[in-house]
């Protein structure tokens, strides 16, 4: 079970959270003009990184808010969590 640092509530156990998939997936700016390839990228294609992965979590059984996290998928260790709208911390700012 993971211990996850909610940016608003602090460290809480994993069952309080819902995973929200890869972070920073941008919806096509003008949906009506997006090509099939752009829709495929938005809807289906994912980084699925082996290593540092930027992802969304929601503190469903807590404050209810979404936030983003950087996690190493080879160790499941969280490197950082940050609020929605913030840029992900650069690799130099997070320690493993």
């Amino acid at each position: 079970m993971l211990l996850i640092e909610c940016p608003w509530c602090g460290e809480r156990p994993e069952p309080e959270f819902v995973y929200g998939g890869q972070a920073h997936v941008a919806r096509p700016r003008v949906p009506a003009e997006a090509s099939a390839e752009e829709w495929t990228r938005y809807l289906y294609l994912r980084e699925n990184s082996r290593g540092v992965h930027a992802e969304r979590w929601r503190h469903t059984h807590g404050c209810g808010r979404f936030f983003n996290a950087l996690r190493d998928t080879t160790s499941d260790q969280f490197l950082a969590t940050y609020k929605v709208g913030e840029a992900p911390p650069s690799p130099g700012q997070v320690s493993r």
């Binding site: 994993e14 998939g21 294609l45 082996r50 998928t73």
Partner: protein
């Protein structure tokens, strides 16, 4: 290859089990092959076997980063069934079941395929509607599946607690041709048979790069054991497929999740079939060694760690203890995780990639073991002929762009 028989096994027994030979060679990689298979699990080894036996491609190699069968082939709960909803899926998985039925004879290796029946429980009205829809769809597609009332389900699996639980059993779908097989034997049997046809099985050989020529076509791979050239490369790397195909700039609609399973201490034969419950989230069978083999769900997050959270396995055990109260005092012996590559529509991707000479067989998600022979058979065809077999033609990478999804998410609401 030494052909096995009952008489031969008896002689070995009388001779004190001396005289056994290694079942396959451990060759060093050659500089070049006609084709390479990346991934030495059941799907990859089976592909190599069918390439050699049915398509006369024998100058080929299987590259495995660990030892063969060390990934999901050695980590799954060995359940085999073909009761999928859509005709494309039912045809593909039933092709596999038909190959399973003769696999031990074809490979001359006992994969211990046991058609003991797979019982899928319904606990809610919605479950019943979905299960009956599956039963009717399967029967229309020529796949056996039948609906059992709760007493009938209990008669088929006498240990089942149908009434005294939070979500009583309201009925069950039974596929009698479903069952289990010995997972390691599948890898070993295919390896032995492929090796006998001249296929090189190269273990401890991790692919680190894919080489392409000026036209973009593949011409080989970089590995931890040197460069190996080949004009055709088939990737069957399960949870690590995204990582391998990124080496050729191919993006995939895959996410890799940990899926956990566990076994109990071994006991005498008590459990006659396979029971699965999507709603309360557990599945169980008993191995020939006597262990209860129990499957849990996936963890919530993507990961490559081959382990997951204990709350996931606890949840599965709570469900098992409700359905089978006599197992409440069983002790669990081991638990582990495998990394499963899940597609958005819960159906596999078997076909070309857009890079000439590069083929992919992935996205089996939580249910790849059951498909091993069928998947390998059609993937070998695809690599040998550079076009899909009719059975895997719908399972393209392009279906996500074109909207031709084969949405088996209902079948995979839990693991399968």
């Amino acid at each position: 290859m030494q052909r096995f028989s009952g008489l031969w096994l008896l002689r070995r027994g009388l001779a004190g089990q001396r005289g056994w030979q290694p079942q396959w060679r451990h060759p060093d990689p050659k500089p070049a092959y006609d084709a390479l298979i990346v991934g030495g699990g059941g799907h990859g080894l089976g592909t190599a076997y069918y390439l050699a036996s049915e398509h006369r491609l024998t100058n080929i190699a299987v590259l495995e980063k660990g030892w063969i069968g060390s990934g999901n082939t050695g980590r799954n709960t060995t359940i085999i069934r073909s009761n999928y909803l859509f005709p494309e899926s039912a045809a593909l998985y039933d092709h596999a079941v038909r190959l399973w039925e003769s696999l031990s004879q074809v490979l001359n290796y006992n994969v211990m395929f046991s058609q003991r029946g797979v019982l899928m429980l319904a606990h809610t009205v919605h479950d019943m509607q979905v299960a009956k829809r599956h039963v009717h769809a399967n029967r229309a597609a020529g796949v056996d599946n039948e609906w059992l009332t709760p007493p009938e389900a209990r008669a088929f699996c006498p240990l089942l607690n149908i009434g005294d639980i939070r979500y009583p059993v309201l009925g069950a779908a039974l596929q009698r041709r479903g069952g289990t097989a010995r997972h390691d034997a599948v890898a070993w049997g295919y390896a032995r048979a492929a090796d006998a046809l001249g296929v090189d099985i190269i273990e401890n050989c991790e692919v680190t790069g894919i080489r392409r020529n000026a036209q973009g076509a593949v011409e080989g791979v970089e590995t931890t054991r040197g460069t190996i050239r080949a004009p055709r490369i088939g990737v069957a790397a399960a949870g690590n497929t995204s990582v391998v195909l990124k080496m050729a700039q191919v993006e995939l609609p895959l996410e890799s999740y940990p899926l956990q399973a566990l076994v109990s201490e071994p006991v005498k034969p008590v459990f006659p079939c396979v029971v699965m419950s999507n709603t309360i989230h557990a599945y169980i069978s008993q191995s020939d060694k006597g262990e209860l083999v129990i499957g849990a769900g996936t963890d919530a997050y993507t990961s490559y760690t081959q382990r997951g959270g204990p709350h996931i396995t606890s949840h599965a055990l709570e469900a098992i203890c409700e359905l089978f109260p006599m197992f409440r005092r069983m002790r669990m012996l081991r638990c582990w995780g495998g990394i499963v590559d899940v597609t958005p529509d819960r159906s596999p991707i078997i076909g070309k990639t857009g890079v000439p000479g590069l083929y992919v067989n992935c996205g089996w998600g939580t249910g790849g073991f059951k498909a091993t022979p069928g998947s390998a058979h059609v993937f070998a065809w695809t690599i040998a002929r550079d076009e899909p077999h009719p059975l895997n033609a719908p399972f393209t990478l392009e279906r996500f762009r074109d909207g031709n999804l084969i949405d088996e998410a209902a079948a995979a609401a839990v693991a399968h």
